[in-house]
């Protein structure tokens, strides 16, 4: 059994109003060191894959097809033994 941990975030070139709001709130609270904040999605997928290579290939396909909209989002993922 493997587990895929997928992160999806808005591309750097796309304004992230949620991130901006959180950054503003953190600055207001005195966390002046926060220069920027980006908000994204975290997903865990339990996989019934034969091996790691196959799992990687399939998860990439899942990201491209559904999990991320590559017009506005970037994705990355890790495959861990689950």
């Amino acid at each position: 059994m493997f587990k895929a941990v997928v992160y999806v975030t808005l591309r750097e070139s796309v304004l992230d109003p949620q991130g901006q709001a959180v950054k503003g709130a953190l600055n207001t609270l005195g966390f002046d060191e926060v220069n920027n904040a980006r908000i994204g999605k975290y997903m865990e997928l339990e996989l019934n894959s034969a091996d790691r290579a196959q799992a990687e290939e399939r998860v990439r396909e899942m990201c491209e097809k559904l999990l991320a909209n590559t017009v506005v989002e970037d994705y990355r993922f890790e495959i861990v033994e689950g």
Partner: protein, 230 residues
């Protein structure tokens, strides 16, 4: 002429759209469930607003894989008129019939009000009954209507006169170039965030949306050489 209003689980503007077609166009219209696999009997396909599949993951992301969407793409390729309103617009971008994407409103607030639009292209099958540059009042109701595309796509949209509607007053969502609605290169697929189906009678505060439906009817009649009897 027969019109399909596609219904996804979570659609909520389907009844408004159906009623607008019935009231303004006076042609047969059917609700078509998202699992349908044949749209060959329809001339115009409408995708209503709402929250298809709860807008889980991203708005329109799951609806885009509904069985009916293959048929919607096929209809668009055949040159049939396809219009997506609000969530329908989001689905059309997800499925790739229209470029770009709809992001969270810049204000992070759900915007629900009457909104001023400018008709920047009245040379489409959906807008021919408006004057060029005409300002109209159409209600909006969305939390994710912030249209975004990259610079290259924006240049293409402008060059191809594909920006059909822009917000004429305050931009309610932060969309690039004040975009409220766009069409594809061929002009037979249109997506817009505002709801023309909610502005088809005076008692609705505005009836400026009526002419979208009369435009569609006129286009179809011309294409099919149907003579009207006064």
């Amino acid at each position: 002429m027969r019109v399909a209003v596609i219904v996804f689980p979570g659609s909520n503007a389907d009844v408004d759209l159906y009623n607008a077609v019935e009231d303004v166009m006076g042609v047969p219209v059917d609700y078509v469930w998202h699992s349908a696999t044949d749209l060959s009997g329809y001339d115009v396909i409408l995708l209503p607003g709402g929250f298809s599949y709860g807008d889980y993951l991203r708005c329109g992301a799951v609806a885009r894989f509904s069985p009916v969407m293959e048929q919607v793409v096929k209809a668009a390729e055949e040159g049939k008129l396809v219009m997506g309103i609000c969530n329908g617009f989001q689905i059309l971008t997800e499925v790739g019939l229209l470029p770009g994407a709809l992001l969270r409103n810049r204000s992070l607030k759900f915007a629900c009000k009457l909104s001023g639009l400018r008709v920047d292209n009245n040379n489409t099958p959906f807008t021919r009954d408006y004057a060029a540059g005409e300002e109209i009042q159409i209600p909006i109701a969305h939390g994710e209507g912030n249209y975004y595309c990259d610079e290259e796509t924006l240049a293409k949209l402008r060059a191809g006169n594909q920006i059909v509607f822009r917000y004429s007053g305050e931009n309610p969502n932060g969309s690039i170039d004040d975009i409220a609605g766009i069409c594809n290169e061929r002009g037979n697929v249109l997506g817009m965030m505002p709801h023309p189906e909610r502005a088809v009678h005076k008692w609705m505060t505005s009836d400026d949306g009526r002419r979208m439906f009369t435009s569609i009817l006129k286009t179809w009649r011309e294409q099919n050489s149907v003579t009207t009897h006064a």
